[in-house]
C-alpha cells in the first residue's frame, strides 16, 4: 500500500498577517515495507506532516494518495484510511481512558465494527506484539500500570486495528535507557512480524541511523533532504543548518575532520567509527616515522 504525497502544503492562519506555512510543497512516495525516519527540530512540520497521512489534517493544496486514491476524495472513507494507517501520537499513554486494558485496546477494533470474537483475538495479538502478558494485564486498569507499560498498551491499541502502515511520533520520549531500547526493539519486531511499513518520527539520530531504511529531513515545513541514513548523515552542513545533530559515530568523525583529520567514508555506527579511526591512526603513525 504505497503512500504518495504530491506537493502538499498546509497553512495556519491563512490570509492573516501571521500566516505560516506548516508544510510547503512536500512531495514523496513511500513503498511497502519501508522503515522511514522523519527528523527535524521542533516546529519543523513533522507532526503536521504525519497527521496528513491519515486524514486528520487536510492539505490546503496538493494531495495524498494511498493505494493510488486521493484520501480526501468523497468516495474514500476516512475511517478506512485510519484503519490502514495507524498513528501513535507522542506520549500516547495520556490518551488511555477505559476501565481495563483489554477494553482500551479494543476501542479501535470496536469503532471499526469488528465482531467481538475477532476483537478479542486482535486484543490478544496486539498485547502479545507489544510484549505484554494478556492474562496478567487484560483486566487491570490501565492507570495502575507503570509508564512504560501504559505506553505499550497505547501502542497495542493502534496495532489492534491491524494497520498496514504504522506511524509513531517519538515512541521512546521520556523513557529510561532500558525501556527506550526495549520499545524500539519491539517496533522492529512488529515490523518484521506484521510486515508493516513503519514511519518513525524521532529526535534521536542514533535510533534513526540504526533502524531506518530511509530518512526524511524536515525544516521550516519543507522536506529538504531524503535518502538512506548514510546519504543523509553525510550532509553535515545541511543538517547543521536545520539545527540537527548527527549520530554519535558520525559526530566523532565530523569533529575529527574539523580538527584536520583526513578520514574518508560515511560512518554511521560506533564499530565503523572505531575501525576508521584505528586505520587512520595507523596510516598517520607510518607517515610520522
Amino acid at each position: 500500500m504505497p503512500i504518495i504525497a504530491e506537493n502538499i502544503s498546509h497553512v495556519y492562519n491563512k490570509g492573516q498577517p501571521d500566516e505560516t506555512y506548516a508544510l510547503r510543497d512536500v512531495s514523496f512516495s513511500i513503498e511497502d515495507g519501508e522503515f522511514i525516519g522523519i527528523i527535524g527540530h521542533t516546529g519543523s512540520g513533522k507532526s503536521t506532516l504525519i497527521q496528513h497521512l491519515n486524514g486528520l489534517l487536510k492539505p490546503d493544496s496538493g494531495r495524498i494518495l494511498i493505494d493510488g486514491r486521493d484520501i480526501m476524495s468523497k468516495d474514500v472513507s476516512l475511517r478506512g484510511i485510519r484503519r490502514k494507517v495507524g498513528l501513535v501520537f507522542q506520549y500516547p499513554e495520556y490518551q488511555l481512558f477505559e476501565e481495563t486494558v483489554a477494553e482500551d485496546v479494543a476501542f479501535g477494533p470496536k469503532n471499526l465494527g469488528i465482531p467481538p470474537d475477532e476483537t478479542d483475538q486482535r486484543v490478544r495479538e496486539a498485547l502479545r506484539l507489544t510484549e505484554l502478558d494478556y492474562d496478567e494485564i487484560a483486566d487491570r486498569s490501565p492507570f495502575e500500570l507503570s509508564g512504560g507499560q501504559k505506553r505499550r498498551v497505547a501502542i497495542a491499541g493502534v496495532l489492534a486495528m491491524r494497520p498496514e502502515v504504522l506511524i509513531l511520533d517519538e515512541p521512546a520520549a521520556g523513557l529510561d535507557p532500558k525501556s527506550h531500547v526495549q520499545i524500539l526493539e519491539m517496533i522492529r519486531r512488529v515490523r518484521e512480524e506484521r510486515k508493516v511499513t513503519v514511519i518513525l518520527v524521532s529526535h534521536n539520530m542514533d535510533d534513526v541511523a540504526r533502524l531506518c531504511s530511509r530518512v526524511f529531513v524536515m525544516e521550516k515545513g519543507e522536506l529538504i533532504l531524503s535518502g538512506t541514513p548514510r546519504e543523509v548523515f553525510s550532509q553535515t552542513e545541511l543538517l547543521r543548518k536545520a539545527g540537527l545533530g548527527l549520530p554519535a559515530a558520525a559526530d566523532l568523525i565530523f569533529r575529527m575532520r574539523t580538527l584536520g583529520a583526513d578520514i574518508d567514508g560515511d560512518i554511521l555506527s560506533a564499530e565503523e567509527a572505531a575501525d576508521a579511526v584505528i586505520k587512520w591512526l595507523r596510516k598517520k603513525g607510518k607517515r610520522g616515522r
Binding site: 485510519r82 501520537f89 500516547p92 476501542f107
Partner: protein, 269 residues
C-alpha cells in the same frame, strides 16, 4: 480551529486608556453599567454612546474589533429585539397575520438593543485595553478590603491567573486527545445525542485525568517555590495611581453626574 483560541481579547497598543490603572478601569465599567440601567430615555443613551465612543477613540482599538466582540452575543441581541418588537402590548403600528408590531414594542425593542450594545461596548473596551493578568491584579486589589471579612480575594485572583495560564493548554490537550482517538476510528460527529455524549467519554476521561495531573504537578511546583497563600507576599507589579487616573475618575464622575441629572431632574421639576 482549536489551537487558535486565546483567552481574552487584548489589543496591544500604548494608549492612555491602556495605561490607566486597571482598578480605575474596572470601577469605571461597573459605574458605566449601573448608569446604563438607570437611563430612562434615548438622551441618556446618546450621552453614554458619546462617552463610550470617546473612550474607544482614545484607546486606538479599531471600531471593527469592538464590533467583532458583538458576534457571540448577536443571537441574544436579535432575540431580545424580536421578542420585544412582537410581544410588547400597545398601539398597533403594523400587523401581519398573528404578528403585531406596536409603537411601544418598537420603542422597547430599540431601547433594549441600545442597552445591550452599549453594555458590550463597555466590557469589550475593558478587555481590549487591559491584559488579563492586569485585570486579575485589579480585581484582587479591589476585593482585598473584603478579605478582612473572610472573603478569599487572593485565592480568587490566583485561581483566575492559573486559569489564564492553563486554559489554552487544556484546549490544546483536548485537540490532541481528540485527534488521537480519531486516529483509532472514533467518531465525534455523527449519531444521536446519547451516542454523541457517549462518544465524548474517550475525550473527557483523559482530559480530566490530564487536568488532575497538571494540578498535582503545579501544586508541588508552587510549594517548591515557597507559595503559602497571600500572607506576606509582595508583588512585582505594584499598582500606583497617576494623574491620568485622577483625570479619568473626574471624567467618569462627570458622565455619571450627567446621567443621574437627566434621570432625577425632570422628576424634581
Amino acid at each position: 480551529m482549536l489551537r487558535d483560541i486565546t483567552l481574552g481579547q487584548y489589543y496591544a497598543k500604548d494608549s492612555v486608556i491602556h495605561r490607566l490603572d486597571p482598578r480605575v478601569k474596572i470601577v469605571a465599567v461597573i459605574v458605566y453599567i449601573i448608569m446604563l440601567f438607570l437611563v430612562r430615555d434615548f438622551i441618556g443613551y446618546a450621552v453614554s454612546f458619546a462617552a463610550a465612543a470617546a473612550v474607544i477613540c482614545a484607546s486606538g482599538v479599531p471600531f471593527r474589533f469592538i464590533l467583532r466582540g458583538m458576534k457571540p452575543v448577536a443571537v441574544i441581541l436579535a432575540l431580545t429585539f424580536l421578542l420585544n418588537l412582537f410581544l410588547y402590548p400597545g398601539t398597533v403600528l403594523l400587523s401581519a397575520g398573528p404578528f403585531h408590531i406596536t409603537q411601544q414594542g418598537l420603542h422597547q425593542a430599540l431601547f433594549m438593543a441600545c442597552r445591550l450594545i452599549l453594555l458590550i461596548f463597555g466590557t469589550a473596551i475593558l478587555t481590549y485595553t487591559t491584559k488579563p493578568m492586569k485585570l486579575t491584579d485589579g480585581m484582587e486589589a479591589l476585593m482585598s478590603p473584603l478579605s478582612r471579612f473572610g472573603f478569599p480575594a487572593h485565592e480568587i485572583a490566583i485561581i483566575m491567573s492559573i486559569a489564564l495560564r492553563f486554559i489554552p493548554m487544556l484546549v490544546q490537550e483536548a485537540d490532541k486527545i481528540m485527534k488521537a482517538q480519531q486516529a483509532r476510528g472514533a467518531d465525534f460527529e455523527s449519531g444521536n445525542i446519547i451516542r454523541r455524549v457517549r462518544s465524548l467519554m474517550p475525550l473527557f476521561i483523559p482530559l480530566f485525568i490530564g487536568a488532575f495531573r497538571i494540578a498535582q504537578d503545579l501544586a508541588m511546583a508552587m510549594e517548591a517555590r515557597c507559595y503559602r497563600g497571600g500572607t506576606g507576599r509582595t508583588r512585582l507589579h505594584v499598582m500606583k495611581l497617576h494623574k491620568r487616573d485622577a483625570a479619568a475618575s473626574v471624567l467618569l464622575a462627570v458622565y455619571a453626574g450627567l446621567i443621574l441629572a437627566e434621570r432625577i431632574l425632570p422628576a424634581l421639576f
